[in-house]
Symmetry: C2
Subunit: 108 residues, 2 copies
């Protein structure tokens, strides 16, 4: 699991107005987190991503998409070899509003 | 060429804040146009897209991306079987600021 954090590091691929288009090679579990001020869009380019949400899990294969609504806790979990694309307002931190690397963040 | 316009009809796949994520099956030539108020982001999911721009052409294959800056004329041309994803502010019209279906639109 030591290599996982680097696996989730997003790279800005393009910019659209004040949004960034980011890609990341992902694998294993990422911190559960939420973004109070923005939705977060996921597109799977390759592999398989599971978004664990309070109301259930969303499973995404290649070219499947999901928008996590603002304020919604979500824990991304990916199979090896997964590559995802995200749209987010510039400056959005991928660990959300909680402490980096903490799981189960629930903000007041 | 009669079937081409329907080929370029975008469908909203997801929403992210006040942006739409759209997909379209595209083939052949689309109107040259520009958007005065917004960048336009293209991601090729399958096939091949050429964006003809004043300074030259951009050729995109699967999972390649390009952002057309606001105000920049562009004419999309696609091979048969091409599928693209776009990211735009909600309400953006795909023919831009010119007359629908007109090619070579140059606004004052």
């Amino acid at each position: 699991m030591d290599a996982v954090p680097e696996k989730w590091l997003p790279h800005v691929l393009a910019q659209v107005n004040d949004y960034d288009v980011k890609v990341a090679n992902v694998e294993g579990e990422f911190s559960e987190h939420r973004h109070a001020d923005t939705d977060e869009f996921f597109l799977v380019l390759a592999g398989r991503l599971r978004l664990e949400l309070p109301d259930g899990n969303v499973e995404l294969g290649p070219h499947e998409v999901f928008t996590v609504p603002r304020g919604t806790l979500h824990k991304p979990v990916a199979e090896p070899g997964t590559r995802i694309l995200m749209f987010e307002p510039r400056g959005t931190v991928n660990t959300g509003d909680g402490n980096e690397g903490t799981t189960g963040v629930v903000l007041p």
